[in-house]
Amino acid sequence: MPDKNASGNASKLTDTGRIEIRLAGEGGQGMILAGIILAEAAAIYDGKNAVQTQSYGPEARGGASKAEVVIGEGQLDYPEVLNADALVALSQEACDRYASNLKRGGLLIVDAEKVTRLPVSHAVKVPVADLALQATGKAITANVVALGVLVGLTGVVSRQAIEKAVLGRAPKGTEEINRAALKAGLDSAGAELHL
């Protein structure tokens, strides 16, 4: 049966093993950096192919911004997300704006405190910002916590790879904080899986 739905078609276009991840938040929350780290984990440390794109307003702070990461085995044609396998949304605006082409049955991870209206019936709600504060005392590490949650739930990249990628991007002297943030995210994903 041909699917008349445009996005339905596009999902069948996917390259072998193509996985599409979208990371969204407020500008300044570091979601684009999170996208770069995820892509580096895949491309450099897991030996896969990856392409990362982004969109943001010209203003450096505020507004909704998103990073997209497409991971696959061979050549990746279209570099942007067609139908997201997973969406991480750390703000309500980001969730509202970027949830539209989440794949049917795709994984939605939201910050439990900040996203209250959900576009789909099922979502994984994790208090990402709170976890960041608890684990490191720094709200700015929420993006790394979110990566931990995503990787813990999906295994889209290996744990070793994400840790290497996070530490590879961490400014000198912040390695421990970033390691703690990643662990907090991975642990909370573990708890979700055992619910």
């Binding site: 445009a6 996005s7 078609n9 596009a10 069948k12 276009l13 390259d15 770069i36 892509a39 580096e40 491309a43 450099i44 192919n49 990856a50 392409v51 990362q52 794109t53 982004q54 969109s55 943001y56 307003g57 010209p58 050549q75 990746l76 044609d77 279209y78 570099p79 942007e80 067609l82």
Partner: protein
């Protein structure tokens, strides 16, 4: 080799260094600024020079000055800055000065949408500066290719003594991809043809077998004149009709007789294709996706990717047009290179797919054009 997740703009900067670029002058503008940032850090390490000029007009002027002084030179910009560079771009054509101008296209006209993608400067790259002139414009489809085509841009500019435009789009400029960057010593570099006659015999704009006169750098002991006026073989201004005509003919000929080398394309399944997609830049990525799906549905579809936009791949498109039923031309604009395809293939054969709102063309749009009757 260095394995990295690299941004397109960074790949342009690294490609420039690999090609031997040792001078950059530019003015900050989104979405090209990363090229300047990387080169401001890397050039001085190699003894090269970076300068942030007061505007794009000055930037274009400075790279021409530096090239005449003997350094491989480049600038990078986006739409509004590219508009400002046009007069001096013409000066580079007229004085046959090698240089590379990267234009990371954003949505226009005017300030437009600085972080949105576009392919709206295709015709500006061709005819932005006034007067009849040849131009070379290259457009990469990936991060590794941004590196490769930057090297090629420098090589063409030095070999043919001409400005070369690198026409990126925001998608390729800002996108990060896995890239195994080659060691610079393994990159093939072309140097400008030097002078091997004594100064009293040197004709800076004289006839030569290749139509590309050897180029002396200022300071090498060949004192000559460089001007944006029409000039005679010695470089002096002329109003003689025969000399003006000879210049125009030679400068166009030096490109035209080398189209086989300059026009770079990638062919995918053109043999026996009933429909061919002709695409360039980031749109090639959408097209590849669409072509794959169309083939799954048993359509005979080919893809011709134009890495060289200017000069236009006229002969290749004409050959295609004879053998296929339809040519689909997707562009992130309202139809610019489609005009060329239509000129060669005839309007009835061409189906345009256009989007000019800052988004990439969705593969579905191309697929529909392939399947439409």
């Amino acid at each position: 080799m260095t394995l990295k997740l690299m941004q397109g703009n960074e790949a342009v900067a690294m490609g420039a260094l690999a090609a031997g670029c040792r001078f950059y002058a530019g003015y900050p503008i989104t979405p090209s600024t990363e090229i300047a940032e990387v080169l401001s850090r890397q050039l001085p390490k190699l003894g090269g020079k970076f300068i942030q000029m007061e505007d794009e007009i000055a930037s274009m002027a400075a790279i021409i000055g530096a090239s005449i002084g003997g350094l491989k030179s480049m600038t990078a910009t986006s739409g509004p800055g590219f508009s400002l560079m046009q007069e001096n771009l013409g000066y580079a054509v007229m004085t046959e000065t090698p240089c590379v101008v990267a234009n990371v296209q954003r949505l226009g006209p005017s300030t437009g949408q600085p972080t949105s993608a576009s392919q709206g400067d295709v015709m500006q790259a061709r005819w932005g500066t006034h007067g009849d002139h040849p131009i070379i414009a290259l457009s990469p489809t990936s991060v590794p290719q941004a590196f490769d085509l930057t090297v090629t841009a420098f090589n063409f500019s030095e070999k043919y003594r001409t400005p070369v435009i690198l026409l990126l789009d925001e998608v390729i400029g800002h996108m990060r991809e896995r890239f195994d960057m080659p060691d610079f010593e393994n990159v093939q570099r072309v140097e400008r043809l030097g002078v091997n006659v004594p100064p009293e015999w040197y004709k800076p704009y004289g006839d030569s077998v290749s139509d590309v006169p050897p180029m002396a750098n200022f300071g090498d002991g060949y004192r000559y004149h460089v001007t944006g006026l029409f000039h005679d073989p010695m470089g002096y201004p002329t109003q003689r009709l025969d000399e003006i005509e000879a210049w125009i003919q030679r400068v166009n000929r030096k490109i035209e007789r080398n189209l086989d080398e300059i026009i770079l394309t990638e062919a995918d399944g053109l043999e026996g294709a009933q429909t061919v997609v002709v695409a360039y830049g980031a749109t090639v990525r959408s097209a590849r996706h669409a072509v794959k799906l169309a083939r799954q549905r048993r359509h005979k579809v080919g893809l011709l990717s134009l890495l060289t936009i200017w000069p236009f791949a006229e002969a290749e498109v004409a050959r295609l047009a004879q053998n296929c039923r339809r040519i689909v031309v997707p562009e992130m604009n309202l139809g610019q290179l489609a005009l060329e395809v239509e000129r060669v293939a005839g309007r009835s054969k061409v189906r345009r797919v256009n989007l000019a709102n800052g988004e990439m063309i969705h593969p579905q749009m191309i697929l529909e054009a392939i399947e439409a009757h």
